[in-house]
């Protein structure tokens, strides 16, 4: 076991097949492996964490929020200052009762009925992006970067439209959310200095929150049919609405949780269909496969690699006893290849059903709020691609993001025909 170190950067630089093979080994012979924490500038390293790699154990942990809480941090292994956690994490790093309150208010705005108009425009947005990308490719060498032209702008535009962000501010939102999501990648930040990086990170959050505060004030004055209006104007059921601060944090969370995730699901999907062209033909030939195909894309891509929980008391799971304060990291990518749950887990199969993958999180109160929206976005994206770019081909190897948290693709050159 000494050869597998999930904390080492080198591990996340391995090709996907090598990583999945290591996770298979962990599931079989060391399902509660313990690792030292990654080093983070200005933060004292904590005691270490348990890597939870089996589907059943992740399910058990995630569905017992009173035993394994999110409030000590869900998206960072080291403990961060609590203000930072709440500002950047919003509800994802809160426990009941505060989590339940925010979740109830925002759930009312994430209903299929509210999202219907957004979803209608996704198709137009996708087609527009694809047509523009085609023009660029035809004017140049016949290739374009799929991430930059299609996969990145689509989810961002959807969120901006949903929240009612004016067109003029959308470029700013993309730029600032990229900084928050950069994980300190010097290429994105344009600086090597960690002090500068931290400053840029804090400024980006502030900029997004201020934008939202401005919009909130406008929507209180003159409500429209966007989500911001619904979130700041008390709903009729119980008169509860988000405060300005909660709205700012929620918007940052949406920019983070709704953007890069969907972007990478689409990019990883394009890559998978390039590697398994017969699966593409299968889906094109049978549109009734859409529901299962979308789930399989999310299982295959697992855009969010892990979430953290912290034991609130001594508790036993899967034969292991955790102690109060133990940090557990739930590796969704490993669960999604668990051979005790999925037949031939390393086969990409658009007809796989049922598909109890944990790509949107496991059961529990934090289950992805945007799952329905993401599924619709992914379905529409691939339907538009198959229609407008049936001849899409990936050129060479994509440029992967070096990150343990996001299974990301930075750049992926594609060719038409």
């Amino acid at each position: 076991m000494t050869t597998i170190d999930l904390t080492a950067e080198e591990f996340w630089a391995l090709p996907p097949a090598a990583r999945y093979s290591a996770f298979r080994t962990l599931r079989r012979s060391d399902p509660f492996a313990f690792f030292a924490e990654p080093e983070v500038p200005y933060i004292e390293a904590g005691p270490g964490y348990f890597a939870i790699t089996r589907h059943a154990d992740i399910d058990a942990i995630s569905s017992s929020p009173e035993l394994f809480c999110s409030g000590k941090g869900a998206v960072s292994i080291p403990d961060m200052p609590v203000e930072l956690v709440e500002f950047y994490g919003s509800m994802i790093s809160l426990d009941d009762p505060r989590h339940a309150r925010i979740r109830r208010i925002v759930s009312l705005t994430f209903t299929p009925k509210m999202l219907d108009q957004v979803v209608d425009s996704v198709s137009d947005l996708a087609r527009q992006l694809l047509l523009e990308a085609r023009k660029k490719a035809e004017a140049g060498d016949g290739t374009f970067d799929f991430v930059k032209e299609v996969a990145a702008p689509l989810p961002l535009k959807v969120i901006c439209q949903m929240m009612g962000i004016p067109e003029a501010d959308q470029a700013l939102v993309l730029e600032q959310s990229n900084i928050i999501l950069s994980g300190g990648d010097p290429e994105v930040l344009g600086t090597d200095s960690q002090d500068d990086a931290l400053g840029l990170f804090l400024l980006a959050g502030q900029t997004l929150a201020e934008l939202m505060h401005r919009l909130a004030a406008e929507r209180r004055e003159t409500p429209t049919d966007d989500l911001t209006s619904a979130l700041v104007n008390a709903n009729t059921d119980d008169g509860d609405a988000l405060t300005d601060q909660e709205l700012g944090s929620f918007f940052i969370l949406l920019c983070v949780a709704g953007n890069e995730t969907t972007r990478n699901a689409i990019s990883q999907g394009v890559l998978a269909f390039d590697q398994f062209p017969e699966q593409r033909q299968r889906w094109i030939a049978d549109p009734a496969l859409t529901k299962s195909a979308v789930e399989e894309v999310v299982r295959w891509a697992t855009p969010v690699t892990w979430m953290r929980r912290t034991a609130t008391q001594d508790v036993e799971v899967g034969g292991h006893t955790f102690h109060e304060g133990d940090k557990v990291i739930m590796f969704y990518g490993s669960a999604n290849r668990d051979e005790t749950v999925f037949t031939d887990p390393d086969t990409f199969d658009v007809a796989r059903w049922p598909n109890p993958h944990l790509g949107f999180g496991a059961r529990g109160p934090h289950f992805c709020l945007g799952a329905h929206l993401a599924r619709r976005e992914i379905a529409v994206a691939f339907q538009s691609i198959f229609e407008l770019m049936p001849d899409l081909q990936v050129v060479g190897e994509p440029d992967r993001l070096l990150s343990s948290f996001v299974n990301g693709i930075k750049r992926m050159q594609v060719r038409l025909g």
Partner: protein, 58 residues
Amino acid sequence: MIARTCIVSGTCEALVPSLFEIDDDGAHVLLEPVPDNLLEAARDAADQCPSRALTVIS
């Protein structure tokens, strides 16, 4: 019964496919009232619903 807070997570369908179905319009209960043999499973789904949107009326 499914309340307005349903965000179409799909949790209920995954747990009790014979009782819940998800389509583009949202989540639907296939059998109402819930048959006795599915009552316990339905209550479990209600417990696990991330939106607390399910109420089992028996």
